[in-house]
């Protein structure tokens, strides 16, 4: 799905990440951990083509990112659901339209999709907020709306950056269960988090691989977690 081969990334000459290699296989479940500022978000951005590596190779769906045009990247994003830490929406459109936005922009919006949308909204527990505007949502609701938006096109890969950052323990458990369920449906999942409790909770549900960013590179974390 997504392959990194000796990837390095530096901001204005300062190496942030170096020598990272990883293969995200279909159906895999990964956690990405590490201290704040270690480069977890940068790593995820490399995975969905928002940043191009300054060294090594990133391949997304068998295409080298450096050779991809902006439109190619846009097409790849339709197969990668991204949930950001601070999820942003189109604040002037109701939640349901925001969730359906990937359908709209890819020209797939049609009346047949309404059932699909309703089902997804119910699944993330936002049926009541159908017509609410995004600024009216709570932190947890925003996270779930962002997840629903990331899923509407039924992507092959889900990348979530601190999806439980703004929510209480109960809600984070619920989001985790949603992601585990998706993984069981065959989706590749990668969650960046520094919440070790969440990782422990996940390990009882799914065989997850844990990666850690330390010393500016990617390491397999031990079983101590």
């Amino acid at each position: 799905m997504i392959e990194l081969d000796n990837v390095a990334y530096s901001y204005s000459g300062d190496a942030l990440l170096t020598d990272m290699s990883l293969q995200l296989a279909p159906g895999a479940f990964h956690f990405l951990t590490g201290p704040s500022g270690a480069g977890k978000t940068t790593f995820l951005k490399l995975c969905y083509g928002a940043l191009k590596p300054t060294g090594g190779r990133v391949r997304i769906f068998d295409h080298d990112v450096t050779d991809m045009s902006r439109d190619d990247v846009a097409m790849a994003r339709r197969r990668i659901g991204v949930v950001h830490q601070d999820c942003q929406f189109l604040d002037h459109l109701p939640v349901a339209e925001n969730v359906a936005l990937p359908l709209t922009v890819s020209g797939q919006a049609s009346p047949d999709q309404v059932d699909n949308l309703n089902e997804l909204m119910a699944w993330v527990g936002l049926s009541e907020k159908y017509d609410a505007l995004p600024p009216e949502l709570s932190g947890g609701e925003r996270q779930r709306a962002a997840l629903a938006r990331a899923l509407i096109l039924s992507p092959d890969v889900i990348l979530a950056d601190e999806p439980t950052g703004n929510v209480d323990w109960e809600m984070s458990q619920r989001l985790l269960r949603l992601l585990v369920e998706l993984n069981k449906m065959g989706k590749t999942v990668m969650i960046a988090t520094h919440d070790l409790m969440l990782i422990r909770a996940a390990k009882s549900m799914v065989p997850a691989r844990i990666l850690r960013i330390a010393n500016r590179t990617l390491q397999a974390a031990g079983a101590d977690l």
Partner: protein
């Protein structure tokens, strides 16, 4: 061809693409207002240009190149001087023809002043020679000098020549009108580009969200381009209408007896203002498209 496809995609109904960019009241109104003003000015520049064009043409035609040579000489030299003058004129390059007016013709010319019974033959009336200029014109200074030497009694009277600088000025005015139209078009493009840049900057979050969920640059650009094109079209339409109405209530040129011409459009020229709104929309389309491509190309 690519532009045509883009224009078609632009006109295709896509409520989704329109809704993704939040409506912005102030810049929208400003764009409409400015394009209306620009269209209004264009109509006047156009009217000015066409009117001066007409003026230059009519005056140019009336210059129709006729001048008169008047020969005053003692009666016994009259025939000799007339013959000499005709000879000189025949040899002058740029003179198409020269003809001495007959006694009857001269009598007809004088009739309004002296009545029909005047015996022209018995009066020392000067002999007139009608000179028709060729298309290239003749060198009037040179002709005058030659006549002075060979036909001392001859006076060359170029009665329409004074209009020539006016006709030239009218041609310049016409050019000025077209230059103004070009400048107005350029200013419109600049204004739309600035407005589009402002809109793109103000909607940075919208653009980031759209990119994240897999919108192509073309899709995002279209949302902006369509808006600015429509606003300019509407504004320019209103401005054109006002301009045409304003021209309509201007006095026509007939009163001035054909010497001047009205500012109003004449005949098929009334079609020209109708081209202004689509043309303004095209300018806005290209300007926004370029601005959007440039801004989006610089984003992650």
């Amino acid at each position: 061809m690519k532009l045509l496809d883009q224009a078609r995609a632009l006109l295709a109904q896509d409520a989704g693409a329109d809704r993704v960019v939040p409506p912005t009241g102030f810049t929208a109104r400003l764009t409409v207002l400015t394009s209306a003003a620009m269209a209004f000015l264009t109509i006047f520049a156009l009217a000015l240009s066409l009117a001066s064009g007409r003026l230059a043409t009519t005056w140019g035609e009336e210059l129709a190149r006729e001048s008169t040579l008047r020969i005053s000489a003692p009666a016994d030299q009259m025939d000799a001087q007339t013959a000499a003058a005709l000879r000189v004129l025949e040899q002058t390059p740029g003179v198409a023809s020269a003809r001495a007016l007959s006694v009857e013709e001269q009598q007809a010319l004088l009739e309004p002043w002296f009545g029909p019974d005047l015996p022209v033959e018995s009066l020392p009336v000067p002999q007139l020679i009608a000179v028709i200029e060729g298309p290239e014109g003749y060198d009037s200074e040179g002709l005058r000098l030659r006549l002075q030497a060979e036909v001392p009694g001859a006076v060359l009277d170029e009665h329409t020549r004074w209009r020539r600088p006016l006709a030239a000025a009218a041609s310049r005015l016409k050019l000025l009108g077209w230059v103004s139209i070009l400048l107005i078009g350029g200013a419109t493009a600049g204004m739309v580009t600035l407005a589009a840049n402002a809109a793109l900057a103000a909607n940075a979050q919208v653009i980031a969200v759209l990119r994240l969920v897999g919108a192509t640059d073309g899709y995002i650009a279209r949302a902006f381009v369509r808006r600015f094109t429509m606003r300019t079209l509407i504004g320019a339409g209103a401005g054109t209408l006002l301009g045409v109405v304003a021209l309509f209530i201007m006095p026509g040129g007939e009163a001035a007896g054909g010497f001047l011409t009205g500012l109003r459009f004449q005949g098929w020229h009334w079609v020209l203002p109708m081209i202004v709104p689509p043309l303004a929309a095209l300018v806005a389309f290209v300007a926004t498209e370029l601005a959007a491509r440039r801004v989006l190309g610089g984003l992650a």
